[in-house]
Symmetry: C2
Subunit: 336 residues, 2 copies
């Protein structure tokens, strides 16, 4: 690269942009599909008995580098996880960047490296992308939008609509780690203890779970946290959900920060956890499969589906019952 910072010319469609694409993006993401440099990527044939699953998300997390990850890793994991919780195998990802003029090219390189590493490790290919540059002050360093294409076995039918009374609710690990790690990084709370984002790709874990038993619904509880995701499922499936507070796994240091700041961890974002709502007879087998996976060591059965009323109930430690509403306002902006 000739420059140390991104200028508007990197987004103009001209020579500098082509240089950026060739020397950075293609070098890191390079594969037979992206290297064709056409306006769109032609994907290999879809296997028989599979459908296509399609998703998109934008990432505006602040700061762009945080303990446990960065905006690049977050964007790839987010898209992988949105496909995975449908039961799909993530295959192809597009990455589009909106960059603020003046961003250090070194930072961009770090992000691109992180995208390349994360996607390689998760077995997905970056097949197309775009770069726009806006003037200083018109964006905040870098925003990413990733879209993903996955393939879904025709035999599977996993949806927020499929939770049924009697089903068991499994959570794959501790809650609130991502949101609290971001908050700590942003506010320089300098709190002791390990406050790492849990950002991770869940596709490998999901593949193993699908072999272990019948799963009706899966979700990754990101923005709005566990409570909001449970509310979405109750709404979509027209059921009630009963959750037992003391069963919900939480890291000690995350809990300490939540207590200190008066935040309810059940509303704080996660980026490497999933909820699975499964047939009761398969629950133990699915749970033990999750627990054997590095990303599921702290998994627990946290509750069950009831027929009505359509709401989420939390059985508290002291024996009471609290109705968990959807997140009302904005606890933590730009968490993802």
């Amino acid at each position: 690269m000739e420059n140390k910072k991104i200028t508007l010319s990197y987004g103009s469609g001209g020579k500098l942009m082509h240089q950026l694409i060739k020397n950075l993006f293609l070098k890191k993401f390079g594969n037979v599909i992206s290297e064709k440099l056409d306006d769109s990527a032609v994907l290999p044939p879809i296997p028989n008995n599979f459908r296509i699953v399609f998703t998109t998300d934008s990432y505006v997390v602040k700061p762009i580098f945080f303990p446990g990850g960065d905006i690049g890793k977050l964007s790839i994991c987010g898209t992988i996880n949105d496909l995975s919780v449908m039961g799909a195998k993530p295959r192809y990802i597009s990455v589009s960047a909106i960059i603020e003029e003046g961003l250090e090219i070194e930072k961009l390189e770090k992000i691109i490296n992180s995208i390349a590493e994360t996607s390689k490790r998760a077995g997905v290919q970056i097949v197309c992308g775009d770069t726009k540059v806006v003037e200083k002050g018109a964006a905040d360093e870098i925003f990413l939008t990733t879209s993903g294409v996955g393939i879904l076995d025709n035999k599977l039918n996993i949806s927020g609509r499929n939770a049924k009374p009697g089903n068991i609710v499994i959570l794959s690990g501790t809650i609130a780690d991502h949101g609290i790690a971001i908050l700590n990084a942003r506010q320089e709370l300098e709190l002791k203890g390990k406050l790492l984002s849990d950002v991770a790709p869940l596709n490998n874990l999901v593949e193993k779970m699908l072999n272990a038993g019948k799963i009706n619904t899966m979700r990754d509880p990101t923005r709005g946290g566990l409570a909001t995701t449970l509310n979405e499922i109750a709404e979509q499936s027209d059921v009630g959900i009963e959750i037992i507070e003391e069963r919900i796994p939480i890291n000690k240091s995350t809990k300490t920060v939540c207590n200190l700041l008066g935040l309810d961890p059940i509303y704080i974002a996660n980026e490497g956890k999933l909820l699975a709502i499964v047939e009761e007879k398969h629950a133990e087998k699915i749970l033990s499969t999750i627990k054997k996976h590095p990303l599921g060591k702290n998994a627990e059965i946290i509750g069950k589906i009831i027929s009505k009323p359509k709401a989420v109930f939390l059985k508290t430690r002291i024996g009471g019952t609290r109705i968990l509403q959807m997140l009302e306002s904005d606890q933590l902006p730009r968490i993802c």
Copy 2:
């Protein structure tokens, strides 16, 4: 909507965001796929003998409303056109918005309406999306990222790599209208004459062209304009391209503004035009097909492919030959 402006809470994952999705996005985009409200959209089966084509682009155009269109229409047309120039039929689109706190909800509604109308008219479905809100000053009103999935007949092979010596270069209409319309809107030049963006979905035109003869390469000359796109093709196909200046269609008012401001229209962005590089024996039939289409009335044969040297040559009006380089610097930022 309860509020008149977008607040950070609209992006938090909580109640206001769900309200926005239900009352605005789903109402306007609603279809059986998007209404499932799952993390990803499961697409209908892909017909036999078709492959999947995948593309993405971000849009940061300023101003967000301009003569002839707005950021919503632009984002849908851009994605449709990127798929169409591969010979693919655009089918499914994702829309992800990054919104600056304080954006008037009325403006958002106008943009959403424009997205809904454009996609309906072009026969594509909006199947998934995302919304993030950043604090005032961290973005500029609204940025959109659209990704698209199209289906491509196995028999077709259209690529920037396929231009061959002897092939004919057809341009579907006048150049530089989009870039100049944006510039006029932004700088309030208040120039007389019709300065409208040419933003339009080209999928219907392309379908008709594919039935008229053999097309080797298609491209929509957006950022960097005609000259940059021709350079990309010369590079990818390892050929030379000879273009005749007086054959290049241009609107009188666009030309006047370019002359006044000292801008070279051959480097200015288009959003509803395409270049087709076709077998010589089919050129006249393809040209007449384009000319019959409302979006191709001003189409012309503007040049031909030569074997070498690998460069783009412009035969000027006064009989000289000029080498057209790729765009060097940033003529007009945030044009798309």
